[in-house]
Symmetry: C2
Subunit: 509 residues, 2 copies
């Protein structure tokens, strides 16, 4: 049987561009995982890991023009956005190199013997070690930042884990190019090719999650696909951690006072955030609670103008476009739903941005309107008009978990007046990131970042962006009464590597 | 239909002592979870939480005589062991109070805006918040330390999570007593009863893991029961973290040099560790790799003498006794297996300690002897005699995950000669705690402790003992561009609570 071809497709025309790979057979998946498993030892040295990550960033930058062109041809996201995303990806690789250098993620804790404890404490020395081979499932919407050289790969390599990437079918050609760049960077540090494997094909993805030598997985994508892989990871004879980012509505609450004070700016800001990247962000604001009445009307007027001015755009693939067109039509057809700017099909290969409105009271009870509480990928948002705070609370209480939750406050509320602090408290249980007077699109790479949230936002309590993302690929081990001669250098009393640690109960930094 | 009675049973006679409770109906489980859910707010204040934990320790100590008597009547573990275990439990509650006070577990990270980052970083402030209601499944073998007031409860309360305990049927009367003590302590700090719920019954345990308002679970018990609950937690519409400790063989490798140097002491030490608490420890050494030949023979001679001198003991319940008797008989009947001291039934209600030997080569390949690589709860261990290092590696490569792995080294090997360091490295992938020249029984409560390991030792990468156990019940949240007036005190620049934190990249304590 001939290997199934993997085609690169132009989303602007829907036409196949060229065959760039073949789908991996079960044997090829096994070979990639085994090569990764054999490469674990080569990643033990933290100095080498950090240098590799920095070289990878440099090599990606050196290949920028070629990579951006290849990415645009397969995603239609445009050179400006893609150039920025590649820069972010390189920044991220270097940020993780810095994290590797610092070594705080090793979480070193050393306790000397203590006979006064109950029971007595022997000499104990704990730190974290890499879990093993990590499977990374690429996202469609960030061909650089959440794909082959993206956050999951960077954090796994930083942790010392070799990676096998399941390429996203929306940019297979770019995936091959980026994998080659990463392997070239690896070779420059004497690392084997196996530190970064790449496989194509749906079946390969299934095979990967079930492979006995895969120790953990990272995923960014849909609720349906992510849940299927989560279930497979949990059903293994030896279950493995599955860190999936699945779906998020990203609610926004606009207070009456905020709408009165700056409804026009909020409407324009919302339009920008919900149409950014043709609405293809996991943190796109998908539900906005805006007041009924004149202040909210002003916001909607501004939103209407800004969205009407937005050009039609190309979604990442034909299936997404069809899903968007059908999804907005189904939502728009619900009782009480209006479409001040109708979203839907643009040209043959494009979609037009728009938004829907609905009385918030329609969302307070289980029923057909629950569809409005599900993510709709693409340039659309739902504005629910509320009469009072109890309607706001009623809708919030019905939301599934989210990556983000945002509140737009007046200047007075932001300074502590009225319901500002209360709203921040009410939004906290709903999301992993809470924003005041900002927009959720744009996820900074920073030590404090948390990109995750209650299910289905993510399937674990961890983050896929920011400094602590490395924690996902580690497990602790403690050495008891182990002589210094047999200990790793990280756990020696004299701290030859200068690591931050907890030493006999005291934090040392 | 009358409520199903819950009986307290005397394991020394197998007779019912008295009815101490009834099994919880689905409605009662729901009520317990809702009461816990409603109690979340009361646990927000860290000062109150720490004080509550300390008061609980004091109240348990004040009730010591009554509690130890009740525990002994239901477990037959004896007053000395139980008095020690209660002391450990109180020490643990106070240790978690100290952790609450310090606040390092909040993992505060603050980043001020940085326009030089790619993309620019807005003001971001992250810390960890409690997950919500935690279900705790008690263990049979530690009626204090891994039960109602045990490690999971203490760490969950420390994290700010109310707890609903599923009582272990082997000590339901004690469970009721301890729950009353904890609720009395809670009341002294104005906390509602709901912070500590208690339910009895198999069906109640199933209901608990599926309850929508339960946010996480902790479990200590068998592979079979733990896996069923793990599967149920993963299959929920909203999956939840399940931190289960299921089973562990706890391998011990004795080098030829160690056996030659101190075989007698090793044999005696092994006998003590494997028979401690009638072999009912999750860290009991269940498989010992000892050299063939005279050095190993000396070890076995000492082991034989010490085990022969061990009194028959009472297991925690009749089912365990029957499983032990059947399990050792099945193992002893395998080809090539010998029983220098035959384990099995003692008196009508007791079991006798013993051990089996087998050539290590028998364990190198999949087959009937795999039974010897499964945990057998009770006072038995398997000594596999090896001819050379390759046989040691062969057996180690076939082991499932473990809580502990131990190596007995000679003085020279401990100082770095020969294969000492290599063996420590080879054991590290197998377990969460690696010991040199010690015995795995006795799990100290300390900041560095790690009580967990690759599956089936535990179902997650976290620990159920030690300072970092609190991490299981938390999730991060980050606040973006949130004015100081609306932020929790933990995230303010001026650090009014004096928390250790990462501030603009720098670790502060």
């Amino acid at each position: 049987m001939a290997a199934a071809p993997v085609w690169s497709v132009d989303p602007r025309t829907g036409k196949q561009r060229e065959q760039v790979a073949v789908e991996a057979t079960a044997r090829e998946v096994d070979a990639a995982v085994r090569a990764a498993h054999d490469a674990r030892g080569a990643l033990t040295d933290r100095t080498v890991r950090a240098a590799f990550l920095r070289t990878a960033a440099g090599e990606l930058e050196a290949a920028r023009d070629q990579l951006v062109e290849a990415a645009d041809a397969e995603t239609a996201l445009g050179p400006a956005r893609l150039t920025g995303e590649l820069a972010r990806t390189c920044y991220q690789l270097r940020a993780f190199a810095g994290i590797v250098d610092e070594g705080a993620f090793l979480d070193v804790v050393i306790d000397h013997p203590d006979d006064t404890a109950t029971p007595p404490v022997p000499d104990l020395r704990r730190y974290k070690i890499p879990l093993g081979v990590v499977a990374v499932y690429s996202a469609s919407n960030f061909p650089f930042a959440f794909s082959v050289a993206g956050g999951d790969t960077a954090s796994a390599l930083a942790a010392g884990c070799p990676v096998v990437v399941k390429a996203h079918p929306d940019h297979p050609g770019l995936s091959e190019l980026v994998a080659k760049v990463l392997r070239r960077a690896a070779a420059r540090h004497g690392l084997p090719e196996g530190v970064l494997g790449l496989v194509h094909g749906f079946e390969a993805g299934i095979g990967l999650i079930g492979h006995p030598l895969v120790s953990a997985a990272g995923f960014t994508g849909s609720v349906r696909g992510g849940r299927a892989l989560f279930d497979a990871a949990a059903a293994r004879p030896v279950p493995i951690p599955f860190h999936g980012e699945l779906g998020s509505l990203n609610p926004v609450v606009v207070t009456e006072a905020a709408a009165a004070e700056r409804g026009e700016a909020i409407g324009a800001g919302l339009a920008g955030s919900m149409t950014l990247g043709v609405g293809q962000f996991c943190v796109k604001p998908g539900l906005v609670l805006a007041p009924a009445g004149p202040a909210g009307d002003g916001l909607l007027k501004s939103l209407t103008e800004a969205v009407s001015d937005t050009d039609a755009g190309v979604l990442l693939d034909r299936r997404m476009r069809d899903n968007f067109v059908a999804g907005v039509a189904e939502r728009a057809g619900l009782p009480g739903v209006e479409s001040p700017v109708t979203p839907g099909a643009g040209g043959e290969h494009t979609v037009g941005a728009g938004f829907l409105t609905v009385p918030a009271s329609r969302l307070a009870q289980e029923g057909a309107h629950d569809l409005l509480l599900e993510e709709c990928f693409g340039p659309v948002t739902v504005v629910a008009r509320y009469e009072d705070d109890s309607e706001v609370r009623g809708v919030l209480s019905r939301l599934p978990g989210n990556l983000t939750a945002t509140v737009q406050l007046s200047a007075g509320e932001a300074a502590g007046e009225g319901r500002g602090a209360e709203l921040v408290r009410e939004l906290t249980p709903l999301a992993g990131r809470v924003l005041v007077n900002g927009w959720p699109t744009g996820v900074a790479v920073a030590p404090a970042q948390h990109h995750g949230g209650p299910y289905p936002a993510t399937t674990s309590t961890s983050t896929s962006v920011g400094g602590t993302a490395v924690e996902r690929w580690l497990r602790p081990v403690v050495y008891q009464t182990t002589p210094e001669a047999l200990l790793p250098a990280e756990l020696r009393d004299d701290n030859p590597l200068g690591l931050p640690r907890r030493f006999n109960g005291t934090l040392e930094r």
